[in-house]
């Protein structure tokens, strides 16, 4: 069988060589392996430069100017660090950053706790666990746009299921409270939806972590008469920790730039209660058209996320090496 395969492969290679135009063969023959490697990755590099690096450099340039995309005829003037200064001293932007931090902290905390607990349960391999795994995964397969609209209806105070279920258990009037219209409840309304949608993702990563722990370690612990509690804290948690930390990193980066779901659920309101940084940035760039200032804000956000993520990855590597 293997011989046959090899023969077929050889034949195919022979055919390809014969099919290659002679001039091309001569041209390629003179190239080193390194040059050929560069030749292959060049299109990707050009694409990356065009759609990632160039816009980044351009945004850095714009952040030092008074450019407005809706004033094509206006002269572009350099304004030094003035855009950065205005962004960093703007109380509305700090408010948006605070809202983002609140949102990121609570979503991650809840998703980690529930996601890990679910992974721990699913890892027990009880009867029907495959079915329940699939059911749990459904929310993360949906589009955020669908989820946002769907939960908007669920939270509707007069006809929404959420209010009715809460009212059923507590006895309060369903329309007596508004999840999306209340200053106190609206941030939590978004946290609930995000947790509902993305906990399965965390669960999957944690499950991969739990499944990677070899059984013999638990068997050795059993021999040493370690209690289940001790096994959990001394084996399960430390060995699954790199996976948990990875899940935290992924979710933190995602939630830091959360936009679609918040827009669909609350539009940043009531007032500016749920206006996260990405919404403020979008308003600044594409509604107010202060492109220079928006660029400065985007660069500040980029540096903050990039810096924090780097520190975190270093910590993650240290945990992995332990």
């Amino acid at each position: 069988m293997t011989d046959n395969n090899t023969t077929l492969l050889d034949k195919a290679a022979e055919k390809a060589v014969r099919a290659t135009p002679v001039p091309l063969v001569y041209r390629v023959r003179g190239l080193s392996d390194r040059s050929i490697a560069w030749l292959f990755i060049l299109p990707t590099i050009v694409l990356l430069l065009a759609i990632n690096i160039f816009p980044l450099i351009w945004a850095v340039y714009l952040s030092f100017t008074n450019f407005r995309a809706n004033r094509p005829n206006a002269e572009i003037e350099g304004v030094g660090f003035s855009n950065y200064q205005r962004v960093l001293t703007d109380p509305d932007i700090w408010q948006a950053m605070q809202t983002t931090a609140h949102f990121v902290f609570w979503t991650i905390l809840l998703q980690m706790l529930i996601g890990f607990a679910l992974a721990y349960l699913i890892d027990r391999k009880f009867r029907g666990h495959a079915f329940w795994t699939t059911v749990i995964l459904i929310p993360m397969m949906l589009s955020p746009a669908v989820v946002g609209n769907f939960w908007r209806f669920l939270y509707q105070p007069q006809i929404g299921l959420f209010n009715y279920v809460y009212a059923f258990f507590t006895g309060v009037e369903p329309s007596s409270f508004q999840m999306l219209g209340s200053v106190t409840l609206s941030p939590w309304a978004i946290i609930i939806v995000d947790t509902w949608m993305w906990t399965p993702y965390v669960m999957l990563i944690c499950l991969a972590g739990l499944r990677s722990i070899p059984d013999y370690i638990y068997e050795a612990a059993e021999v040493d008469r370690a209690s289940a509690w001790r096994q959990f804290w001394s084996i399960t948690v430390p060995m699954a920790l790199p996976f948990i930390m990875l899940a935290v990193l992924f979710r933190a980066i995602e939630n830091f730039k959360m936009f679609d779901m918040v827009v669909l659920l609350t539009g940043g309101g009531p007032g500016s209660t749920t206006e996260v940084a990405s919404i403020t940035l979008k308003r600044e760039a594409f509604e107010s058209w202060r492109t220079g200032r928006a660029s400065a804000f985007a660069i500040i956000l980029f540096v903050a996320v990039f810096g924090l993520a780097n520190i975190y990855v270093k910590a993650l590597n240290r945990v992995k090496q332990r």
Partner: protein
């Protein structure tokens, strides 16, 4: 050789045809951009006459209101060629004129004998001129509109409700004519059980993302004497924007929101207020005149069940301006076709048909027609409203000014943060910063 020559000739002909054919078809086609709403459907119907007369096919790009400004302004800023004609908001005039997005129409109007004096003066000022009120025309008034009110006439006519209202307030139950009366009526209806259903006082604009709460709250502000400047054109806003009357107006709007809107209407604009009314939840609601023909035809709440009234008075009579003018986009490849459409649209007969189909013509031939007032149950109110309209800033920086307003008003009215005075003082501060950046202060 002969074969090669034939092949070359063939290729050249094909190439020529392929380049000429699209431009020929483009010339016979126009794309008109507008918001996706009831009057847009009427315009599609109306434009069939233009196609029949001119042979030009009309294509339409209608964008839902919440995304209208974003989508179209992005298109203009990007130098796109999507729209040949644009029915854009009045607030876009300043920016579009100064940035060269719209074609100045003065010479064309002179050449074709189109007189702006044939249109309602308030509409011309609002929808066509920049700088505002000067004879520099960037659009032809296309769709007159203002924010007004409608109510459940059948509920107001119920004898038991009338008696109860009289006992509670000491006056007859009629459509409110002042803001205190509006509040009183809304409070009276709020929570009442009518036809076995709990109803609410009024559905009003509270939307945060685009322009909703500004268009709603300015009804109360304008009616209470709110002004943008102490001296027109001087940008001296202190004392005008945050005057004692303006503060009172904003407080009244918040009171109406707090006391009497249906639960969950914290982010409501045109669609939501219509829903509240059509589903029998609200005794009164605000919305643009543009929707009124549709409301009259509604099977459940239209006909005899619905009545209309203009924005109640505070210290003065005033209504928030809606509506738009039609402009030729400077980037069009079909300038002649676009101008031909404007010329056709400006004709009195076309304007009359426009009104009959559900569009709000502001041509004097329509408005001064003796039968106009009785042509629709809201026609008389429309005439009054168009004579008392006030508009938001039309400055090139209107978007920044609007965003600041949306934030300040929503923070105060819906999110319950601060006082009306703080909200309006904040507005003066935000707007001052914008005008300083623009070099106007």
């Amino acid at each position: 050789m002969r074969k090669m020559t034939k092949a070359l000739l063939g290729a050249t002909t094909a190439l020529t045809l392929s380049t000429v054919a699209p431009s020929a078809s483009q010339a016979a086609e126009l794309t008109l951009c507008w918001a996706a709403w009831d009057p847009a459907n009427a315009l599609v119907e109306l434009s069939k006459d233009f196609t029949a007369q001119s042979g030009t096919d009309m294509k339409f790009e209608f964008v839902p209101w919440p995304n209208f400004a974003d989508r179209i302004l992005n298109e203009l800023n990007a130098g796109g060629k999507l729209c040949d004609l644009l029915i854009g908001d009045s607030q876009w005039l300043g920016g579009s004129a100064e940035n060269g997005y719209y074609v100045k129409l003065n010479d064309f109007f002179d050449k074709e004998g189109i007189k702006m004096s044939d249109f309602a003066q308030a509409a011309v000022n609002a929808y066509s001129t920049w700088p505002k009120g000067t004879p520099n025309y960037w659009a032809l008034p296309a769709m007159g509109d203002a924010n007004a009110w409608f109510y459940r006439k059948d509920w107001f006519a119920k004898p038991e409700i009338q008696a109860e209202f009289k006992a509670a307030t000491g006056r007859d139950l009629v459509p409110p004519t002042t803001w205190p009366e509006l509040l009183e009526t809304a409070k009276f209806f709020n929570g009442k059980d009518i036809d076995g259903k709990k109803v609410y006082g009024a559905a009003i604009f509270t939307e945060r993302a685009s322009e909703g709460i500004t268009m709603g709250a300015t009804q109360a502000l304008y009616a209470n004497g709110f002004k943008y400047e102490m001296t027109p054109g001087k940008y001296d806003m202190e004392g005008a924007v945050n005057s004692a009357d303006a503060i009172k107006g904003l407080e009244e709007y918040k009171e109406l929101y707090k006391c009497c809107t249906p639960p969950g209407y914290t982010d409501a604009y045109m669609g939501e207020t219509l829903d509240a009314f059509k589903s029998g939840q609200a005794a009164m609601a605000m919305n643009w005149f543009a929707f009124f023909p549709g409301l009259v035809k509604d099977e459940n709440v239209g006909g005899d069940k619905i009545g209309f009234f203009n924005n109640p008075k505070g210290t003065t009579n005033a209504s928030t301006l809606g509506g738009q003018g039609i402009s030729v986009v400077a980037n069009t490849d079909n300038m002649d076709g676009a101008l031909a459409y404007i010329k056709w649209f400006a004709q009195p007969d076309v304007q009359k048909k426009w009104w009959s189909l559900g569009g709000y013509a502001v041509h004097n031939a329509v408005l001064n027609d003796p039968s106009f007032k009785d042509s629709q149950p809201f026609a008389a109110d429309f005439l009054v409203a168009m004579n008392q309209v006030q508009d938001f800033w039309q400055e090139p920086s209107y978007a920044i000014l609007l965003q600041a307003t949306q934030k300040r008003l929503h923070d105060y009215v819906v999110a319950d943060q601060g006082t009306a005075k703080e909200a309006l003082d904040g507005l003066v501060k935000d707007w001052t910063e914008v005008f300083e950046d623009d070099g106007k202060l």
